[in-house]
Symmetry: C2
Subunit: 241 residues, 2 copies
């Protein structure tokens, strides 16, 4: 497939400690698939500068786009912006355009733009800002890395800000057949059909039914809807009850 | 902290395509934290042999334990066992002890142990088997890598099989204070308290309330419950309403 490739980097101790169940990865994966961008890898690392720098450098070199979530707030454990700057060898400081956004926002509220909040205007040299319609403090983009907030409502709003600017490939067509047999019965015929359609990706995702019996959802994905439909017809014929 | 470290590798196109929301990572993270094992990193890769091999080698070298989920079923896209064998330069074939488990299981059911199902007895040379009380086909362990199924009920059962054998550190104590103020107001005092307890980890996890105002859960974690309680008392005093 010639669709653009992407990776996501989730920065957050709260996911690794089991305190929070991920929502941003699930959301982004769905949005990228719909936009025809091929999410190939996700990494979750803790609020640790060395871990963030190593992951950003590896993912930025390997994929067309990298999306990060988390660690851009005002508290001491928010070290993403500094880590991204370090990953690309760029300086970082409070930037006037970001400060102006925050000043205007806090002037309207009863809140003070104190030193902690001003940290959210620290932007790596040469980065573009990502609009935050929810809580104003911006995300930013450095080279091919889009740095966004971890709060799901803000992450979602930022993704909505940037997605239209990204060059998506053709959306992947996906069709699913639910088969109420165990994968062991499905595997032979499915393998043959998969081998005869090298342009398509076919995945088998088993589930256990309430009565304890196994079934599987077989998903066919590809860029060519006619080809997906043709393969799906063969699959249905092979597994007709 | 001197607790054992761990990483998880989720193998599955269904997570990266946004089709399925992760459950195994959330489950494992909670179990490891309770067992005093420090989950440092998670990677999600697709059903791609090169990607699996590279991730397994990197994580196995960097952490004490690695846990994988997914890709050990009978269908053509189940390539985890072969990829793990390749990652460690081991041969792989149907192994008699695994075949016996499957034979006994399928003899009791009306299902045939066909070529596809027999693939689930392919085990890398020298690996130990991981019991699967749900659907019999075993997981396995090679060096420090525990290879388990992706179906959540089976993954959970396999984790329960292996966890008692792992040398856990002291369980991490975790206390949370919900503060109904924005992180910008919390950051200053929190940063000072965090700096005075270098043995503890303090994280701030913002949320948006129904009325649109921001608050944050501040979580203090550490191995020494008295120290956690002392720091929590300071935090409560600093943010008394």
């Amino acid at each position: 497939m010639s669709n653009p490739t992407a990776a996501m980097l989730v920065i957050g101790d709260e996911i690794l400690s089991g305190r929070t169940r991920d929502a941003n990865m699930y959301y982004l994966a769905g949005e990228l698939t719909a936009a025809g961008i091929d999410l190939r890898e996700v990494r979750v690392v803790s609020d640790d500068s060395e871990a963030i720098i190593a992951a950003v450098q590896a993912l930025s070199a390997a994929y067309n786009h990298v999306f990060t979530s988390g660690g851009i707030g005002p508290t001491h454990d928010d070290i993403t912006a500094d880590s991204i700057a370090a990953a690309f060898g760029r300086s970082i400081d409070v930037r006037e355009d970001a400060r102006s956004l925050l000043e205007a926002h806090y002037k309207k509220s009863a809140l003070e733009l104190n030193a902690a909040r001003l940290r959210m205007a620290r932007i790596p040299e040469g980065a573009g800002l990502i609009e935050n319609p929810v809580s104003v403090a911006p995300g930013f983009v450095v080279e091919n890395v889009y740095v966004m907030a971890g709060v799901p409502s803000v992450f979602k709003a930022m993704v909505e800000s940037i997605l239209p600017q990204l060059t998506g490939g053709a959306p992947l067509i996906s069709e699913t057949l639910r088969i109420n047999r165990g994968e062991g019965d499905i595997a032979g015929p499915l393998g043959e059909i998969a081998a005869s359609y090298p342009q398509l990706s076919m995945g088998s995702y088993p589930f256990q039914q309430r009565d304890g019996k196994y079934g599987a959802n077989v998903v066919i994905r590809g860029g060519d809807s006619a080809l997906v439909a043709e393969a799906m017809a063969k699959l249905q014929a092979a597994f007709a009850e």
